[in-house]
């Protein structure tokens, strides 16, 4: 807990109380946000499809998610006879806990000054709670954004074990797909995070947000050159198993994917984790690329405006995810894999080298024009090599008597 000024002067009971309040508020807010997100998605998608959507429970159907939750609680908890009892019970908790923990590193508010730590009266994204100065995020661990990667790689276990322990074939296929997809896209996701870290110069989310203070021009969306954001957006969508990458639970093929055999509250936990991950990823995108809680402060409470801006940006991303679902058809499995391995990862590798070169040029005082020319030549060379390799691979497949890979996969999926 480095960045938090709360612990700068030792830990007393007041600090622990503040910490407890933050944890409880974050937990409750995430739960409420998840319920809101379920309602939001259903309402929005029905608008896009010229339907009415949930409209019975509460005004505008707002309490629909709550009613669903109550129903889940009172349903019978089924466990297939073939299931592995321990792992079957464990899997939903892994999913839910990782979804909660990942949100802990997101700064949800606080005024960030662009004049360095001494500007703005020494306040750097902090607020005062009960007379204690603290940051508006549950934790600011030194590894910062790496916690997100760790949690998203642990979240794979939830899906994988759920599918395996069900002792049933469709969940197993769904979970194998899910873990292959998650592992493939984690590489691209991690590399786009590295691009952010290279430019921002820190792993801590607090410092990453602070480095973006002072206007839209400083947002990492622009200073990393948009490409990392696009790669992050695509890989995050794939990590979340959201459409168009929702092969994991492709209902036409796999019944329901890895959670087919789950019911009652265990299913609700998966559902919760899924929606919570959507919210967390949106929040992380806002934090990494869109200045976090940055925005103009107008009148009244100065501490409130950053949180309002943060929420507005997150809702914009949530809207976008729903829009994806309403618009884009699902990819085929081989298309998914080739997008991840043959497009996103090479592009991101090149872009990382380019960003490193630009940083080095800034330190060494090299001429920017030569840097861009060198980068263009490097990109052309790399692209030519990759294209040649892909062509050779295709020729090899054609030479083989065995069936070519795409039809093979398409036949199964």
């Amino acid at each position: 807990m480095t960045g938090d000024p709360l612990f700068a002067d030792g830990v007393d009971w007041g600090d622990i109380a503040v910490m407890g309040v933050k944890v409880v508020v974050a937990f409750a807010a995430l739960l409420v946000a998840t319920m809101f997100m379920i309602w939001f998605e259903r309402k929005l998608i029905s608008d896009m499809q010229h339907r009415i959507g949930p409209n019975v429970a509460g005004p505008w159907g707002l309490l629909q998610a709550f009613a669903d939750g109550v129903k889940f609680f009172f349903k019978e908890d089924l466990r297939p006879a073939n299931a592995d009892p321990l792992v079957f019970r464990l899997a939903p908790y892994i999913s839910a806990v990782t979804a909660f923990v990942a949100f802990a590193i997101v700064p949800v508010g606080g005024v960030f000054a662009d004049t360095g730590p001494s500007g703005d009266g020494g306040r750097q994204g902090t607020v005062t709670l009960f007379g204690k100065e603290t940051i508006l995020q549950v934790a600011d661990p030194p590894v910062g954004i790496l916690l997100l990667l760790a949690m998203s790689s642990v979240a794979v276990y939830g899906v994988m074990l759920a599918g395996w322990s069900s002792g049933s074939k469709y969940p197993l296929i769904g979970s194998v797909r899910a873990s292959a997809q998650a592992i493939s896209y984690e590489a691209a996701l991690g590399m786009s995070v590295v691009a952010v870290v290279i430019v921002a110069g820190s792993l801590s989310t607090q410092s990453i947000v602070a480095s973006q203070a002072g206007g839209v021009n400083n947002w990492l969306l622009l200073t990393t050159g948009i490409v990392p954001f696009l790669v992050f957006l695509i890989s995050a969508t794939a990590e979340l198993n959201r459409p168009p990458f929702d092969l994991v639970e492709a209902e036409q093929e796999l019944v329901g994917g890895f959670h087919t055999e789950y019911s009652s509250i265990r299913f609700a936990l998966f559902f919760l984790a899924e929606f919570m991950n959507v919210i967390t990823m949106s929040a992380i995108m806002v934090t990494l690329f869109f200045g976090g809680p940055a925005g103009p402060v107008f009148f009244g409470w100065t501490w409130l405006w950053p949180t309002v801006w943060f929420l507005a940006k997150v809702v914009a991303f949530l809207f976008m995810f729903v829009w994806f679902r309403a618009t884009l058809p699902r990819l085929r499995y081989d298309q998914l894999m080739s997008l991840g391995w043959k497009v996103l990862i090479p592009v991101m590798l090149f872009w990382l080298m380019f960003l490193g070169l630009v940083q080095l040029a800034g330190v060494q005082g090299w001429n920017r024009i030569w840097v861009f020319i060198a980068a263009a030549i490097g990109f052309a060379l790399g692209w030519a090599l990759l294209a040649a390799a892909l062509k050779a691979a295709k020729r090899n497949f054609a030479d083989d008597d065995t069936e070519p890979l795409p039809t093979h996969t398409a036949g199964r999926s």
């Binding site: 480095t2 960045g3 000024p5 700068a8 592995d84 321990l86 792992v87 464990l90 600011d140 661990p141 030194p142 590894v143 790496l146 916690l147 990667l149 760790a150 790689s153 642990v154 794979v156 276990y157 994988m160 074990l161 395996w164 322990s165 197993l172 979970s175 194998v176 873990s179 292959a180 592992i183 984690e186 991690g190 110069g201 820190s202 792993l203 801590s204 607090q206 410092s207 083989d400 008597d401 065995t402 069936e403 093979h408 036949g411």
Partner: protein, 219 residues
Amino acid sequence: MVEVAVFAVAAAACLVGAIGVVLSRNPVHAALMLVMTLFGIAVLFVAQEAHFIAAVQVIVYAGAIVVLFLFVIMLLGVDRAAELSLGALPAQRWTAAAFGLGGAAVLIWLVAAVDRLFKGAKSLALETAGAAGAGAGSDPTDYVADVSALARSLFSDYVYAFELTSLLLIVAVIGTVILARRSDGADGRRVGQHGADGRRVGQHGADAAMAGSSSEAGR
């Protein structure tokens, strides 16, 4: 007090996990126990203020390597409880016991030696820590320096070892690809004569391999 509690919990998790890996009959349970050990070690790293190493531990070992173990276990269909009762070699138990005891003795000796070493170096370590603490203070970027120190030693003092390791990994990857392709092609032609459907060749091959290994174990 907090440190002792953290150490006790993490060490207990490590030990329970390690024992569980050995005792589990189900390979998936064993892999999960391994994850528990890895998490315990990550917590111990955090307790030693090695946050970056802890994160890498979780991302690489728990997040990638054990997931691959599980992947292989699930895809090969060996996730039934392994039959441990048969297939022991004649002197296997005694050899295993001897090697285990020897390994334990070496470990205990190592721990004792390191302990002695550190008792001598303790004053020095405290001095350096004090100097670093005075220099860095409560600066939030002070742990980034930890990462950059790691990077500096990796890319300057140990750059040859680092590059050789990456070369080794590339050789391993290329070797795997070549082996996988070659055996696939050979098996495909051989087994393909039996099965008309070329798509099921891999399945046949795997079945044949498993049958072979189990019959060997039976002997």
